[in-house]
Amino acid sequence: MDETTPDEPSPEQPADPLDPLPGGLRGAVEAILMVTDRPVTDAQLAAALHRPAEEVHAVLVGLQREYDGYTGSGVRSAEPASPRGFELRDIAGGWRIYSRKHFASVVAEFVLDGQSARLSQAALETLTVIAYRQPVSRARVSAIRGVTVDSVVRTLLQRGLVVEMETDPETGAVLYGTTSLFLERLGLGSVDELPRIAPHLPGLESLGEYDETTY
């Protein structure tokens, strides 16, 4: 459990910002793993935390064992702890925290309860912007809609309606576009067949209907 053994900082190295924090390097790694929305590599973590990749890797392996119910190499190893409800997996070239497999049935029950088969108004609007502006970054969609769209884009990805197309060569931002499933749903052959946007469509008020049906 004590990965944060005091190391000797070489003279030219700046003071380590993680040492004074409760939880130290282990805590920092956990914090990142808990909230990042894609797998992260040893190298990415090492760069962000200014630590050697090997050290970070050791922490990751330690956490993995700990979550699985092994209490590490400490004195207490005699008494096995119960595994946590989550596990740390190293797949597809990166580390990510998942719910533990054993609990798949209860998690599924929870996930399916209250799931709507319809897109929310927010999702529909975001999808529309992506359809007409693709390839487009989340930041751009966000700017157009005036709200953060992270979780909505995630829903659309989950639903297979949009996909990560490429990376903006300049900004490095992921650019999204619509999928063939999206075209299928609309009965279109290609994105070019999307109706052109008329500047002032008559009867725009009727759009209010969406509000009714989507929430």
């Binding site: 808990m34 909230v35 990042t36 929305d37 998942y98 719910s99 798949a104 998690v107 599924a108 996930v111 399916l112 799931q115 088969a117 319809r118 897109l119 529909l124 609007e125 529309t128 912007v129 359809a131 007409y132 502006r133 157009i144 809609r145 992270d150 979780s151 995630r154 990805l157 989950q158 639903r159 749903r185 609309l186 009965g187 279109l188 067949e193 999307l194 109706p195 052109r196 946007i197 008329a198 500047p199 002032h200 469509l201 725009l204 759009l207 969406y210």
Partner: protein
Amino acid sequence: MEAPTVFEVQLTNFSGPFDLLLNLISRRELDITEIALAQVTDEFIAHIRRIQAAEGEWRLDEASEFLVVAATLLDLKAARLLPAGSVEDEEDIALLEARDLLFARLLQYRAFKEMARQLSARLEEEDTRYARDVPLEPQFTRLLPDLVWKHSPADLAALAARILAPRQEQPVEVATGHLHAPPVSVREQALVVQDLLRTRGPLSFRELTEDAGSRMVLVVRFLALLELFRDGAVSFEQPAPLSDLLVSWSAGDGPWAVDLPHDVVGGTDLVHSEGAHHG
């Protein structure tokens, strides 16, 4: 940070007349309950003038809000400058009420401002925590019910038209929701004053405002008088200490151009009263 530049920078940041007033009061380190009204009034008027000059254009509804407070302040300042001792006068009582009202609203605003500061600090602190918000694991995504889709390409295009249309600025419109009294024009009242002075000669302020139907007209007529004085169209004379001020027309007999470009409280000649209740 030299004081003058700081001040210029702050100009644009006031989010309303109360904000500006509070700032003026705190800059003078005055207790809000014992404001040296005359000073603050002068500064207030000067500031809103400068804001307008600096900002170029002003939203009319915003300007009108400032006018309400400016008019009230001017009113109170006028009351302070008038001879004391005639408190039984109904008008004086109305002025005292107006003062209490203004202070009460300022105090209320100050309380909310303080809470806004606290909420802001909280928001900032909360921004240091990130919620776990990750894509659903594939094994669960597969379980999701099939999407019910009933939107046509035309629906999407209509939606796109609405969302992607360049955001239009709201038409400039003077909000009147906060008004109870009809608008009174400084220009109009200047004409009335001109008319009275030309036909009836030197008059006291009391006489000049005898026919003012409401407190609002009274205030605006006072403003008009100040305007006329500034333009050298009228002159004041006080025969004896504390006696009534006599106003006389001094712009000659020719047709005086009622030209009140950007007068006392702004580029509009509308002055509104918020207070029909004490009129």
